[in-house]
């Protein structure tokens, strides 16, 4: 028998938002492979596994459910670390900084693993930092050109630094808080501030939308306490301006709203918490909950972009993107819906913990007065 008070408290948190998160987490549990990994994004190199597992474990840590399954995923990741200290798209593809950043984000939530697993991961990540502070997906020593069977120069685009990878790596290194990474993190944070566009958002190389990178960059800057309230408000104002009437965010390829894009838009607004953001967050959460499928997952969209490996700037793409095709110059949906569902579970889980499991209509009441952070030095 539990304490009567505890039973009452458990009942009080059984709101609609909490149920959506629970159903989503249960759906994710059902997708976990026997080896503890999750798989998504079918490509010529096979389905993504290590990267997807890091991302999914990191999302599950937000909701406080499926802890046993998350632990198995983390244990699988620790076993899959390469000799170079990194992780890759899957066990066939060379290690990369983005997959390693997500693996690290999963590992820092425990269960604990051997200390050298983490320090080697951090060392691998630091080797991908450019002198300007940004991070590249691949370093020449990863030999991605050999894997895709092209000349070294023909993979220069994938070896260039990009905002989305920089955001993921800086956040991972910052939260891991290792000895010896402070300089690297400071440099990365400074670069993230420079990479913000005039509208206050961050662009993506590997993603069709902007909210994923915007969330990673702005949350890293918030953790580090180097983003002023005014700067964050500029970002959130622009996100709100782009939000559709129904609460969703769209991309060029998902013009009716996209769950992945909306999840990261919501996460970014939750960093601010002003009254306007609260209203927008409420609409976004409501839209997301309405999109949940009866099985507990969320529908996928064309969220991932695989540019030709020589292309550094996606704006300079001269040929058309193909949808859900193999090879490069393609826009891929997460066919198994794991990536999108993990993103939404993370966003609604965060909202649910901040708003005590309430339904979105109650959000604006609970988030007021505005959230104030300590002054930025």
């Amino acid at each position: 028998m539990r304490g009567a008070g505890l039973s009452t408290r458990l009942k009080a948190t059984e709101g609609r938002g909490a149920k959506a998160v629970t159903d989503g987490a249960r759906w994710l549990v059902r997708q976990q492979a026997n080896d503890g990994t999750w798989r998504d994004f079918e490509t010529l190199a096979g389905a993504g596994s290590e990267w997807v597992t890091g991302f999914t474990c990191s999302a599950l840590s937000e909701v406080g459910q499926a802890e046993a399954q998350r632990s198995r995923g983390v244990a699988a990741l620790a076993q899959l670390q390469r000799r170079d200290g990194g992780w890759g798209f899957n066990d066939r593809v060379p290690s990369d900084a983005d997959s390693t950043a997500w693996a690290l984000q999963a590992l820092i939530h425990g269960p604990v693993c051997r200390p050298s697993v983490l320090t080697r991961a951090a060392r691998y990540l630091r080797a991908h930092q450019s002198p300007d502070g940004s991070f590249a997906t691949y370093h020449q020593s990863d030999r991605i050109h050999d894997f895709i069977d092209v000349d070294v120069d023909a993979a220069a685009g994938w070896r260039s630094s990009h905002e989305c990878v920089t955001g993921a790596v800086v956040k991972a290194l910052l939260l891991a808080n290792f000895p010896g990474t402070a300089t690297s993190v400071d440099l990365g944070l400074r670069r993230l501030l420079q990479l913000r566009d005039q509208e206050g958002l961050w662009r993506s190389y590997w993603w069709t939308g902007t909210t994923y990178t915007t969330y990673l960059a702005s949350s890293s800057l918030v953790h580090a306490r180097v983003l002023t309230d005014a700067s964050l408000e500029v970002t959130c104002d622009e996100l709100r301006r782009r939000q559709r009437q129904d609460g969703a965010w769209q991309t060029d390829v998902a013009q009716n709203g996209d769950a992945f894009e909306t999840a990261f838009g919501l996460l970014t607004l939750l960093l601010c918490g002003c009254r306007s953001c609260a209203r927008s967050a409420s609409k976004a959460a409501s839209w997301l909950m309405n999109q949940q499928l009866p099985d507990g997952g969320w529908p996928s969209g064309h969220i991932l972009r695989i540019p030709p490996p020589n292309l550094d700037k996606v704006e300079e793409m001269t040929i058309s993107w193909r949808l859900d095709d193999l090879g490069t110059a393609v826009l891929l949906s997460d066919q198994h819906r794991v990536f999108t569902t993990a993103s939404v579970v993370r966003a609604l889980g965060k909202l649910s913990s901040m708003m005590r499991g309430s339904v979105p209509d109650e959000v604006s009441v609970d988030m007021d007065p505005r959230l104030r952070r300590p002054p930025v030095s």
Partner: protein
């Protein structure tokens, strides 16, 4: 010239050996739960912890502080770790309070009140500890907050706020929890409440927190160990004395002895487990750690790789690691021993036993 082992290998070896020995000794003492029982209990505890966060913590802090605490803005770089720890900290305090109330045969209403007060206290102390240990910018302010609440030992009159500037920050969250805790105390007290003992343990907990980050160079090894021990033991003793303050005068002496055995063992175990699991991190940060003191007889400053190397080599070449593990496991065994009763009436005690063992395993699993 002989090649030296890389520091990273020494770190791994200490980490692996300490976990292997802890697991072996816990297994031998029958303290490890079957995996499926551990996982199910942990899931229940996390679920209850999240519920306590959304309800009890919110009630204590109000909308603004609660939203700040649960957001990504709080605790800076430690945000992810604090968010992960928060539900477990809340529920551990609650369950210790609830379990002790059951041993002391408190009525359900009082048991719930005790459990909630313990949950609040445990969370406040843990959050204060995080700030004091890791955030030099807020350390002084946090110690000021704790000092302000010394006057809260006699609860402030209604509307009389402590002098700490009211603003949303880690320190104001802890201040809010301290205020909520002290507001609840008068409702718990029975006629024979050992009020002074509770207050003296609260004061010792506060003193130890402040002392652990002061200049420790002049202290003897015995004094260093006492500071380290009090910092961990005093908060657990506070939980016990919160429960004890709610008993009626006719309380059974045997019940008191049972509760004291549980608390003494639990407090000692938490201290030793914590320092065993944190030794590498503490070595890096130069934080006070019982295992280091027991091994080299001093408290070395952090950031010196050569000193760290020599301490790690000492840990591997002496039996100090195993001796401390034996002490830790013996303390935990002593805590759960009275909770192994088999009668139907003791179902709640067996549940408490299972929960303590689950949390003990979590100390190993989730501590860096």
């Amino acid at each position: 010239m002989q090649r030296r082992s890389p520091l990273s290998l020494l770190i791994d070896e200490v980490w692996l050996r300490s976990r292997r020995l802890l697991t072996e000794h816990m297994q031998a003492a029958r303290l490890l739960l079957p995996l499926e029982v551990h996982e199910r209990t942990l899931e229940e505890q996390l679920s209850a912890g999240h519920a306590l966060r959304s309800t009890l913590l919110f009630d204590c802090l109000g909308s603004e502080q609660y939203t700040y605490l649960t957001s990504e803005a709080s605790f800076g770089q430690l945000n992810a770790r604090v968010q992960k720890m928060l539900p477990l900290t809340l529920v551990f305090g609650y369950e210790v309070g609830w379990g002790l109330s059951h041993i002391l045969k408190l009525c359900p209403g009082k048991a719930t009140a005790v459990a909630e007060a313990c949950s609040i206290f445990n969370t406040g102390v843990s959050l204060a500890d995080v700030v004091i240990d890791t955030d030099p910018d807020q350390r002084e302010r946090m110690i000021d907050v704790l000092n302000e609440h010394r006057s809260g030992l006699n609860p402030p009159a209604s509307g009389q706020e402590p002098n700490i500037q009211r603003q949303t920050s880690e320190t104001s969250v802890v201040s809010g929890l301290a205020a909520a805790f002290f507001e609840r105390l008068p409702q718990l007290r029975g006629e024979s409440a050992p009020e002074t003992t509770l207050m003296s343990w609260i004061e010792r907990a506060r003193e130890a927190e402040a002392q652990s980050v002061s200049d420790l160079r002049e202290l003897t090894p015995t004094e260093l160990l006492e500071v380290s021990r009090t910092k961990s033991v005093a908060p657990v003793q506070v939980l016990y004395h919160v429960a004890r303050s709610a008993i009626d005068p006719a309380a059974d002496n045997d019940d008191l002895q049972t509760a004291e055995q549980v608390v003494t063992g639990l407090a000692e175990a938490m201290w030793l487990f914590d320092d065993l699991c944190d030794v590498l991190d503490d070595l890096r940060r130069g934080a006070l750690n019982a295992l280091t003191v027991r091994t080299v007889g001093s408290h070395p400053p952090g950031g010196d790789p050569e000193k760290a190397r020599s301490i790690l080599q000492c840990l591997l070449s002496t039996d100090s690691l195993e001796l401390m593990i034996r002490d830790a496991v013996a303390a935990l065994a002593s805590a759960v021993e009275p909770l192994t009763a088999t009668s139907a009436a003791a179902q709640e005690l067996r549940r408490f036993n299972r929960i303590v063992r689950t949390h003990a395993w979590c100390w190993l699993e989730y501590t860096a």
